[in-house]
Amino acid sequence: MTIEDLRTIAENERQAQKKFQHHVCVCIAAGCLSSGADQVRDAIKKEVAEAGMAGEVLVKGVGCMGLCSAGPLVSVETEDQLFANVTPEDASELVRSIDTGTADLKHCDTAVPFFERQQKIVLENSGKIDPERIEDYISNDGYRALVTAITEMTPPEIVALMVKSGLRGRGGAGYPTGLKWSTVSKTGEQAKYVICNADEGDPGAFMDRAVLESDPHRVLEGMAIAAYAVGAQNGFIYVRAEYPLAVKHLKTAIKQAERLGLLGNNICNSRFSFHVDIRLGAGAFVCGEETALIASIEGQRGAPRPRPPYPAQEGLWNCPTLINNVETFANVAPIVRNGAAWFAAIGTEKSKGTKVFALAGRVANTGLIEVPMGITLREIIHEIGGGIPDGKQYKAVQTGGPSGGCIPEQHLDSPVDYESLARIGSIMGSGGMIVMDETSCMVDVAKYFMEFCASESCGKCVPCRTGTRQMLAILEKITAGEATAADLALLEELCDLVKNTSLCGLGQSAPNPVVTTLKYFHDEYDRHISGEGCPICKEHAASSAEVSQ
């Protein structure tokens, strides 16, 4: 495979697609699929065939278009139209009016902040290409970065490029990616591994899933470039078994890339070989922690071990291992294609590039968004997200899942970057963003996340295993209205203990939702304790009693 071969494939694909007058893209990523997008696609295909337009209309299943709340989404690319909540019955109307572009269906306005304020790098192909066809990816500049890297660049040049780009780990902690690559590349000539962490476990987060479902080749290309840069021969994608569609697309993508010689032995006729395998996670949240993930791949119990040694020195089977998140790898190819300066120009001084967020909860537009770093939370929630529906008041946004914190109104103008979010007690995290309105009780929210951490703790270290359980018991006592001020003091003590003495990130960050709610919503805790009771909890109890009747 040379760059010319790649161009030929891309050109052939473009010609083949140009033959069709109309391109109809149906989102078949998990969100739309769950509301019947596959039936919509089949219905449209059937209609097209029956109308004898098979030579004019190309119907393809594509990845996530972002606005999951309006799914199933169908776009007619040639007319630049986007239809929302499409049903199989709408297919005939859509096909009938395809020439005039006047379909009497629910239009989705794309000239709104939700679409206009986004900047897409990771999701540039998402919703445009067919994730199951490598040719479609190649015709959109796919694998050009890999072929260029192998044929024209040396590994140290690529590492230097990553350092200069300022890319930081998108898994949540924000460790400089270039530095990690450089560490692994300096470990000398030996067996090394590249691992893609796709064990996305935060409640309400679906960024990695969308990337893998919509554009799996982008992740493979990023991994292959990484492997070339650090001198690794084998790679693993650790993806949770709850993502069957992502796994299916990845398997297809690996096979296709191997067939074209873009993965496997002697890639681009060079001495570089790289093999990728998939490992399925069995549903343990802690396996998203890198050392636990490595133990799991090795076939051992998924429990973390103390660092150092870091995986960069001693990782999988004690070999130097580069482990990055899905989104981090998805950023690699564009950086190689467009240069470090291009990437470094996006974002803030210390946080470069864009970040994908899964916007969920009490916000008008729920779905997947990609925004430049440095955008404020207010812009994300009130402009892109379209604000809080049903005339309710904003209360808090939870970023970073069970490891993150709840951010109140007064900090909404804080920019979204690693340092700013840490300053206000939360974390960037992997990209989950759950918006809450006045109908959410913050103590109840803290309890929910503590319950999650307590049941997902691996049980290895004492503070995390039993400390989270003690905290949960206190939070249950508080929400039941049975707690006293002494319990609150004990809760604060446990927060400090678990944060400072736990072995891995799970325990160290488990108190965050409690700490931030105590800090910003202390009055709600007081209300539960004072005997006055929490009006929100009472209402919930009343309505759930009604349901059970």
């Binding site: 071990r305 103390p306 270290c461 004492v462 400390g467 359980r469 004990l490 003495t501």
Partner: protein, 240 residues
């Protein structure tokens, strides 16, 4: 063949200057110099896992606490093994352990010979200020010579490691997650039905509490013999 030279690092522990080989941990050096650092999961001769968090120490210039059992020494390191903060954390961790399961010393076979009990005494733990959890846990007496009482287990995994690393049987492992964790034999079969167990009893001897004990022992009668472990390790090193 000439051996690679042994590199020596000097560091201070609680203000005392000590020398160490570069492959030693803070805990190794502290023990050599008779400086006490509390531990429960650690046992010389077994792989350190850093799980009990009792050996956390402060190192100057590092903003988090480090487990002494797995932290390698470094030149010029300044270690404090005790401070008001660490002592408080250690007592709290011990209290959490006492509150987690049903540790009733007065009726325990290892009363008076128990690592957990003696550490609580040594660290000045006067009471448990966390609510007791009182879980209902089983006792497995199916083995002809030994008993496992999950009420007294602290999940230090010494039994798991000694069985895997020294005896080579890997009968023991841990199942489930969080507070539901339990040490199991084979695939959670009764111990007496275990096909991999050789009946060597090493697990019983290394267990820090009364969780693993010999049958026929009454209250306070079960003291553990651990001399075999350094001996075995020494003999194996010599054969290498």
């Amino acid at each position: 063949m000439t051996k690679a030279p042994v590199r020596i690092k000097t560091l201070t522990i609680d203000g005392r200057e000590v020398g160490a080989r570069e492959d030693q941990t803070i805990l190794d050096v502290a023990r050599e110099n008779h400086i006490f650092i509390p531990t429960l999961c650690d046992l010389p001769g077994l792989t350190a896992v850093g799980a009990c968090r009792l050996c956390l120490v402060e190192v100057r210039g590092v903003n988090r606490l480090l487990p002494a059992c797995v932290t390698a020494v470094a030149e010029g390191m300044e270690v404090s093994v005790s401070s008001e903060r660490i002592d408080r954390y250690r007592r709290s961790i011990l209290e959490l352990l006492f509150a987690e399961r049903n540790h009733v010393c007065s009726v325990c076979v290892t009363n008076g010979h128990c690592d957990l009990q003696s550490l609580a005494l040594k660290l000045g733990m006067t009471h448990v200020h966390f609510p007791y959890q009182y879980p209902r846990l089983p006792v497995d007496a199916s083995h002809e010579r030994f008993v496992v009482d999950h009420n007294r287990c602290i999940l230090c995994t010494r039994c798991v490691r000694v069985c895997d690393e020294i005896e080579g049987a890997h009968t023991w492992d841990v199942m489930s997650r969080g507070v539901d964790c339990r040490v199991i034999t084979d695939l959670a079969e009764p111990w007496g039905k275990s096909e991999s167990c050789t009946g060597c009893g090493k697990c019983v001897q290394v267990c820090p509490t009364g969780a693993l004990s010999e049958k026929g022992k009454s209250v306070a009668e079960m003291s553990k013999r651990r001399q075999f472990l350094p001996y075995l390790t020494l003999m194996r090193e010599a054969r290498r």
